[in-house]
């Protein structure tokens, strides 16, 4: 893996969903790292190589997505990483909370196709078509 290649971290407790996203993004030559819990995600972020984009679910075992986001933004080393909240709860209150904590974007998983997920990621990473 080239260090210039973009790196994505997907924090998702459903392995099938993250595998599907990874498979799709693999087509587009975008590698995806995967964390199942909030704690694992925070552990991952301690690495030298920081991800270029984080897809973050809200409902997670242990620390939830909001907690993870809060810590990402509190940490000098990670506070500038774009975070897309990738949830199945699209209530206004969730959106408002995510925005207040500094989420870059808020999407409801089920409303997107895999193609749209891929486009969204590319758009964030500023990779053309």
């Amino acid at each position: 893996m080239n260090t210039n290649d973009p790196l994505i971290l997907m924090v998702e407790d459903d392995p099938l969903l993250s595998d599907l996203v990874a498979l799709k993004l693999k087509d587009k030559q975008i590698p995806v790292s995967h964390a199942v819990t909030g704690e694992a995600a925070l552990e991952f972020l301690k690495q030298e190589r920081k991800p270029d984009l984080i897809l973050l679910d809200i409902r997670l075992p242990g620390i939830d997505g909001f907690g993870v986001l809060e810590q990402i933004r509190a940490n000098e080393a990670t506070k500038n990483i774009p975070v897309i909240i990738f949830s199945n709860f699209g209530e206004e209150s969730d959106k408002a909370k995510a925005e207040a904590l500094g989420a870059t974007k808020f999407v409801v998983k089920v409303s997107l196709s895999l193609e749209e997920v891929a486009n969204l990621v590319k758009e964030q990473l500023k990779i053309a078509g």
């Binding site: 459903d14 099938l16 969903l17 599907l20 996203v21 498979l23 799709k24 199945n88 709860f89 206004e92 409801v108 998983k109 089920v110 409303s111 196709s113 895999l114 193609e115």
Partner: protein
């Protein structure tokens, strides 16, 4: 011919009526003959005549009532009113009259005659008026429900509320009139004394207030089934409710008046008896002392001494003379029909029986002079009584009114609470019980909404997994059978997603618009956004999609997400149910203080049978299912809920095979507070 049918026709309403008329006329003729001393007439004969007529009438009524169901409403009312008139005037009023009145034979004949002619003539007029009064309602019963518009039904419903009261009032007026005529007859032809006249009129008042009341209640009872039928056709708001307080005041007023009049009657009667007794005693004592001139009674009565054996034909009628011979005291009438009080005594000097006669006119004047005070007292008691009843009734109905308002508020806003009454009575108990059930139902409703919301959320993760899996598989699948099946699977998953999303949205809309979602949103850009979202779909089906949105539509206070969804859904449907190459158009204009949006398509249209159900949850028209199998049937119900939550209205016109136009209007200036109240049931 069937013999039973023939038999029945002999006892028809008409024949029974004729038979009754003949019997009553015969009784009246008998009394007329008695005036000329052609036939005997006294209290026992009168009682027998009354008894005969009562049995005849009750028998006829009972027979006809058995076939009640085959009788028209008008006939039922007519029969019942007649029945009560007979019962009250012949069973109660006539014997009551005989019991309390001091009348001689001539007066008895006249009063009997009055009772016999007045009841059929006036009562007959009343029942005929009632018969015609109820004809409009009868026509309603005779015709099919469908022939009546809601407006006509509402009008008839209002009539059905008023008619029983009319029956009461007509009867009341007729009785007052009848008693007036009767009193004139007694006064002019039978020389009824003034005190007896007052008693007669008071007894009359008691009778006809009660007969009117009982006829009113009977008419209410008979009309109830018709009213229920009418109520089914009438919108609840158009119904005029019978006011509990009006009824109570009416009934209590009658009771107070009745009690008052009975009291009057008793007072006057006993006054008469006391004075008469006292006077006779005085006469006897004074005459015994042989000191007529010094008598106290001289102050208010003229008297003369007549030797019992010398009672002449010139002074008294045959009847009075017979009375004088056999009684020791009483009231009689002389030949000029002047009432006189008589008392007998044995003259101490001559030892012969003598009669003292007092002319009562001056004494009656004394009674008359107390009349203003009596009337004043009576009126005071009447008004005070009715006033107290009104206060009591208002106290009662006020709580009921608060309760009714609370229930109405609940119809507009299912989240509202039943107000606390604080009246500390049975009605408050009722309100507490009602509050309990309302809260239970609100909780159940909330639990249902929460359940749907959670279930729909939970479905999202597996749905996303299925959707994405199918997407990846389809992407790599070979053209042909495999790909087609995968695409059909994708479509099924998409449908499931729509259902889950629809349920979630409907729960959100049902929970009401919350303030923090409401903001001022310019309407034109919102529509542009919806147009943009559906344009690819229209292009894919090569549908001629035209839009005409006024540029400067005003901003509207709204839940933007919901409103966008509603517009998108209307357009989506129009495109979905229009075949390739068809036309879909959207127009939005401002009309006064409303925005009017129409979505027209040249699609499959909606059959007349399906049109009534279009806004029902999960309803899908037959044609729609054939054209596009993957629909949830939730969309339009939610669209309607959203538009109505914003104070608007939605409707459609459609012709099967030609197309449909959905049109909704939204008020521009609806205030936020109005939104708070509008929630969905």
């Amino acid at each position: 011919m069937n013999p039973t049918v023939k038999n029945r026709s002999v006892l028809s309403l008409r024949n029974i009526f004729i038979f009754n008329v003949i019997c009553i006329t015969a009784a009246a003729v008998y009394i007329i003959f008695s005036f000329f001393d052609r036939v005997p007439f006294d209290k026992p004969i009168y009682t027998a005549v009354l008894l005969f007529l009562i049995i005849l009438n009750i028998g006829s009524y009972a027979y006809l009532w058995r076939q009640k169901d085959s009788l028209s409403l008008s006939s039922q009312i007519m029969l019942t009113v007649w029945f009560w008139i007979v019962i009250w005037f012949w069973i109660f009023s006539a014997p009551f009259f005989l019991a309390v009145m001091n009348i001689d034979s001539l007066q008895l004949r006249w009063s009997a005659f009055t009772f016999i002619w007045e009841v059929p003539i006036l009562g007959g007029s009343v029942v005929i008026i009632c018969y015609y009064l109820f004809r409009p309602l009868q026509r309603f019963l005779d015709q099919k429900k469908e022939d009546f518009s809601e407006e006509e039904a509402a009008k008839l419903y209002r009539l059905s509320i008023r008619y029983p009261l009319y029956v009461g009032w007509i009867l009341f007026s007729a009785s007052v009139f009848g008693y007036f005529i009767g009193a004139l007859q007694e006064y002019f032809f039978a020389a009824m004394s003034n005190t007896e006249m007052i008693k007669n009129i008071l007894a009359g008042f008691v009778t006809f207030t009660f007969v009117s009341l009982i006829c009113y209640v009977s008419a209410e009872y008979l009309i109830e089934p018709v009213r229920t039928r009418l109520a089914e056709l009438t919108d609840e708001k158009d119904r005029q409710r019978t006011r509990l307080s009006v009824r109570m005041i009416f009934i209590f007023g009658l009771i107070v008046a009745g009690a008052l009049l009975m009291m009057q009657l008793a007072v006057i009667n006993s006054l008469q008896a006391i004075i008469r007794g006292g006077l006779v005693q005085n006469i006897e004592q004074d005459v015994a002392r042989n000191s007529w001139e010094s008598s106290a009674i001289k102050n208010f009565a003229q008297f003369s001494q007549v030797n019992r054996s010398n009672v002449t034909q010139n002074d008294f009628s045959e009847e009075s003379r017979a009375y004088l011979m056999s009684h020791s005291s009483g009231v009689i009438h002389d030949l000029s029909n002047e009432p006189k009080l008589i008392g007998f005594f044995t003259d101490r000097n001559t030892q012969s029986k003598s009669v003292a006669v007092l002319y009562l006119d001056s004494f009656y004047n004394q009674v008359w002079s107390t009349l203003p005070a009596t009337l004043f007292g009576a009126l005071f008691v009447l008004f005070a009584g009715v006033g107290l009843v009104m206060v009591a009734t208002r106290a009662l109905t006020r709580s009921v009114k608060v309760l009714i308002e609370g229930i109405h508020a609940l119809q507009d806003d299912p989240g509202a609470a039943i107000p606390r009454l604080g009246s500390n009575d049975e009605i408050e108990e009722l309100s507490v019980a009602l509050s309990y059930f309302v809260r239970q139902s609100q909780r159940a409703d909330q639990a249902k909404n929460d359940f749907i919301a959670v279930a729909s959320h939970q479905l999202r993760t597996p749905l996303a997994a299925m959707k994405w899996t199918l997407e990846l598989l389809t992407q790599d699948a070979k053209e042909g059978m495999q790909k087609e099946i995968l695409e059909r699977g994708t479509s099924a998953v998409k449908n499931m997603e729509n259902i889950a999303e629809g349920l979630l949205l409907s729960v959100r809309v049902m929970n009401g618009l919350s303030d923090n979602h409401l903001k001022e949103v310019p309407f034109s850009p919102l529509l542009d956004q919806a147009i943009k979202l559906v344009t690819p779909l229209a292009e894919k089906k090569s549908i001629d999609f035209t839009t005409s949105v006024s540029e400067n539509l005003p901003t509207i206070m709204m839940d933007e997400e919901h409103m966008l969804w509603a517009n998108q859904n209307l357009l989506d449907n129009a495109i979905k149910y229009t075949l390739s190459g068809g036309k879909v158009s959207l127009s939005a204009i401002q009309e006064g203080d409303h925005i009017k949006v129409s979505v027209t398509d040249s699609g499959i249209g909606i059959s007349p049978e399906d049109q009534a159900h279009m806004f029902e949850k999960f309803f899908r028209a037959q044609k729609a299912v054939e054209t596009s199998p993957d629909g949830s049937g939730l969309g339009l119900s939610i669209v309607k809920a959203i538009i109505e939550a914003h104070g608007g209205q939605i409707d459609f016109v459609s012709k099967l095979g030609e197309g449909t136009t959905f049109t909704y209007t939204l008020p521009i200036n609806a205030s936020i507070s109005k939104y708070d109240k509008i929630k969905l049931s």
